[in-house]
């Protein structure tokens, strides 16, 4: 979907809802994968807010991205339960496999690596989320499979 069409659709759907800015930003990111900077003044005008206020909201929440992610987003849980089962080591493994640090995107554009603090899968730690798919009891072998799978899919 073209960015401008996505932004227009999001505004039409959510601008008039009470407290509609978060649903509106979600709508944009769900459709585009990120919230383009150039849409901020358009959103601000539609919501009768200042540009600074909209920037402030986007910047406050970890979920919103200002630039496009890789084709897949791999989020590794780094909260306590997963740490107790080795998620720090898993993160190191992921860094080496993808060749990027946290918040980075691999050179082939296949994978963005992000931290997450709890996926609610704490009895099957360590857990990761690939796009919107939750995976539990992850070890180095499974993580390698996940990364390779992401690379082979478009």
């Amino acid at each position: 979907m073209a960015p401008d069409a996505a932004v227009a659709a999001a505004i039409a759907l959510h601008a008039d809802r009470p407290g509609g800015l978060l649903p509106l930003l979600h709508e944009i990111q769900d459709r585009l994968g990120y919230v383009p900077t150039h849409c901020v003044p358009i959103v601000a005008k539609a919501m009768r807010l200042s540009i600074a206020e909209v920037h402030g909201v986007i910047g406050f929440y970890h979920h919103f991205r200002r630039s496009p992610p890789g084709r897949h987003v791999l989020r590794i849980c780094l909260a306590e339960a997963c740490q107790s089962m080795g998620s720090r080591e898993l993160l190191e493994h992921a860094r080496k496999l993808a060749g990027v640090d946290l918040h980075g995107t691999s050179a082939d554009g296949a994978l963005t690596l992000e931290p997450v603090y709890c996926l609610g899968n704490c009895a099957c730690s360590p857990a990761v989320m690939v796009d919107k798919e939750l995976v539990g009891r992850v070890d180095a072998g499974r993580l390698t499979d996940i990364v390779e799978h992401c690379r082979s899919r478009t």
């Binding site: 930003l25 979600h26 970890h62 979920h63 909260a79 306590e80 899968n121 704490c122 099957c124 939750l134």
Partner: protein
Amino acid sequence: MIARVFVARDSCAISVGADSVARAIAVEAFRRGQAVEIVRTGSRGLLWLEPLVEVQTPDGRAAYGPVGAQDVTELFDGDFLHGGRHRLGHGLTDQIPYLARQQRRTFARMGLIDPLRLDDYLQHGGYVALRQALTMGPGAAVQALMESGLRGRGGAAFPTGIKWKTVLEQQSATKYVVCNADEGDSGTFSDRMIMEGDPFVLIEGMTIAGVSVGATQGYIYLRSEYPYAEATLARAIETARAAGYLGADLVGSGQRFDLELRRGAGAYICGEETSLLESLEGKRGMVRFRPPLPALQGLFGKPTLVNNVITLASVPMIFAQGAQAYRDFGLGRSRGTLPFQLAGNIRHGGLVEIAFGLTLRELLYEFGGGSASGRPIRAVQVGGPLGAYVPESQFDTALDYEAFAAMGAMIGHGGIVAFDDTADLAQMARFAMEFCAIESCGKCTPCRIGSTRAVEVIDRVRARQDVAANVALLRDLCETMTEGSLCGLGGMAPAPVLSVLNHFPEDFGLVPTSAARSA
């Protein structure tokens, strides 16, 4: 006869392969010409056995787990459809000690029903409580809740009835009910399980709250990390509305209550109720000053009841079975049951709903079966990332809000994360402050600056730089944060740090004092 097979659709079960197991069962049944109905339920909470496959037998459900897709052919060979013996078999599910010893109240239906079939919910006692609350009227309903002794299950343990009474007494044409479903504490997943496994109980609880306090609009603020719960809740809300359990005329009573699902955006602080309200209003999730309390001026400045998922999900059972029946469980001022969540380095991780009063040791060993690694459990963090690390010497403390508070710990939302003896607790103490720095809303200085400074001081202690002076500085900083922060994030982030300093000083390279050893 068609065999009935149950496989959970809970995201935890799916995360370890439940979908592929369900598919493999369907394919194998087709191949063998056997008629099988596969029901996707919530999870029973025996999470170490997921993917758990259950089969209806004349004596009850028989359990098999953890089942992989590759085990399915063998299960058919072993006639599991008639409860046949198999190496993955555990006998009847209800007789598995982990489940048999529990007191499932809020989680009574969990794993038994298809969470999206309203008929299943109604057949298992659903919406009896709403009719009762409508008959009782607001005043009597709030009184009943006060008598039950229910306290907020989100962590703060504030008496729920008093909150409801305060909102009821406000004169306002517009009031709101807000469900705090921003379950961000590590080691907790009971909210998620309710939303994925029994969503109508939450919807009914919120509806009862609405009619009892005089609110006509409700919001569920759900964290963005829970896409499965979001999909289930959205469908359940639509179903309830279509059947007249939400909307302008609740079950023909002429009363209105409707519900909207809102998604958070990855901010831990939005689990704090005033920050959550700001976020619902479409703003940065900055903590508000109190007073005014949200019960007086909450969402959009209107009187607002903010309750956690488990609190609201406990309401229907309290109305259906009576306040006294709930009050009979528990000890001291901690009444009823709490769904504890066993997590982290634990052999039998899962959900244990039981009356207050059990000890940590019973939970960790009799339910949890010790650590997953087989090594000794050295410490457990109770109550999320702001909870203390509890040493083995305190494992015999009864699980009770007041008893935990007395030792500088908290039960919080009931999450229990186990660590074995390989854990570096100084690193975990550092993480507590690092997490606080990442998630601080930035409104108050002790939290915003203090957390970053604390990480630096901890790094100096761990690097053996001027240790005594830096430990003194760290304790001083912890006191400033505890006493001077605006909300629980900065106010409680020192708890894990101080608990490591007090109970595990050797991890900081400090010589343990005899007092700390015997504490």
